[in-house]
Symmetry: C2
Subunit: 228 residues, 2 copies
DNA sequence: CGAAGTCTTGAATATTATCAATAGGGGTGG
DNA sequence: CCACCCCTATTGATAATATTCAAGACTTCG
């Protein structure tokens, strides 16, 4: 229940864009050379400390953020104070998509992270010249919906073992190896999978004994699956 | 496992728009008089029989559909053949939002329904003159994501009784009364709430005995809650 | 009326949650 | 460096909850 530390304030750095890993596959890919220059000059960024929130549930969404590096958990609190994690967010994903509406969830950094900040006004202006920007936002929203529905299937139809294996498999598919580093705590995983912390712990032990996980050591997990 | 009947093919009717209940609060609201005339002349509609599918999971989404009347269940099948309902769709909602991508789910009519059919090309053309159309699509996608996350919270944090009450309360809030007509079967509700059919049935009995539901008679349910 | 489907109820089982205690890990200060 | 504390994670025993399998009741429709 302690107050989250405030994250650092926005600041402009012209060379941030040079090191941006997600530029080619996000809205900046739509911009021409001159516009890219302008963006690089004026774009504000935010650096978010581990545990700090980039956006907060219920607050107004003034900006659209593009995650450049790091990782976030998306948290929704229920009326009776329970915590549900509705997703995890990685570089290339957007946060604060809701134009002038309250945020549906808080986004809390799991590790020191960087995000790029677009004002909605700026986006509208750019969209006039580059209609594909809006299309990318629509497509991205669609991807998010798809992921949320995968999540619904996990929670609606799978038992504890299946939930955990599905979760680890999704993480492993983000990289190329069967060894995974978990950026989130056990409680985070439990709150994502709709399980109690103890059930998750027991399920991990069971999966390891059954050989479906060849290693479970703190935040390092190794899947045992037929070579992809 | 029987094949769903094919729904009737598309047809054009100039006066369909006259009886459209959702026109003012959907994309047509952006159009001027002349454009509205054009839409009314050329727009194709589909009438979907009860049990028929408007779109199918895995098939390419050629069109965007706007539901005019009736009601659909959104069905996703898991690899092992289980059925999860990821949502219900009512007049004013869109289907087939994914530009040139496969549908994430099937939409099956719960009652005889009508939908209005937009080709993606037509939408792009109209959007050039009316940028708000794209904004409406973005906003609608956001609403859908929000609803999916509500669903995640139901499945992740609530027990059977809470799930059922939350579901009925949502339905009641769509209208103005505490008496609800359910357009879907018990199995549909169970597959939406992540419960077995028998568990749902028992939970209904329990809620009635406890007085939280004052009536449960087939598809008619009456909530017992402090007058809103 | 009969048949097929849908819904409800019953009894036994399986799964998960709860409460409680213990173990591990990382940092701080003596 | 070690002892201590705090936080996170694991394990154990029991209780609550939901599933499974089975049977019966209610509806709808031919």
């Amino acid at each position: 229940m302690s107050q989250q530390p405030k994250c650092s304030s926005a600041s402009s750095h012209s060379h941030f864009c040079d090191i941006c890993d997600v530029r080619e596959r996000s809205i900046c890919a739509e911009l021409n050379e001159a516009e890219m220059q302008q963006v690089a000059q004026t774009m504000a960024h935010r650096s978010i400390k581990e545990g700090a929130s980039l956006i907060r549930e219920g607050e107004l969404s003034d900006y659209l953020y593009l995650v450049i590096s790091g990782c976030f958990r998306l948290v929704r609190m229920t009326e009776d104070g329970q915590r549900q994690i509705v997703g995890f967010v990685y570089p290339g994903d957007f946060l604060g998509m809701s134009y002038a509406a309250a945020n549906d969830f808080s986004a809390e950094a799991l590790e020191p992270s960087l995000a790029c900040r677009f004002s909605h006004g700026f986006l509208d202006e750019m969209s006039a010249r580059h209609p594909n920007i809006k299309n990318r936002l629509i497509a991205k929203g669609h991807t998010e919906l798809h992921k949320a529905q995968d999540h619904i299937v996990i929670l609606g139809k799978q038992n504890a073992e299946e939930r955990v294996m599905t979760f680890f498999t999704m993480l492993a598919d983000r990289g190329d190896a069967n060894e995974i580093y978990l950026p989130m705590s056990r409680q985070d995983i439990a709150d994502y999978l709709g399980l109690r912390l103890e059930t998750l712990s027991r399920t991990l032990a069971k999966l390891k004994k059954a050989g479906r996980l060849s290693a479970v050591e703190g935040r390092l997990v190794t899947l045992n699956r037929p070579a992809a």
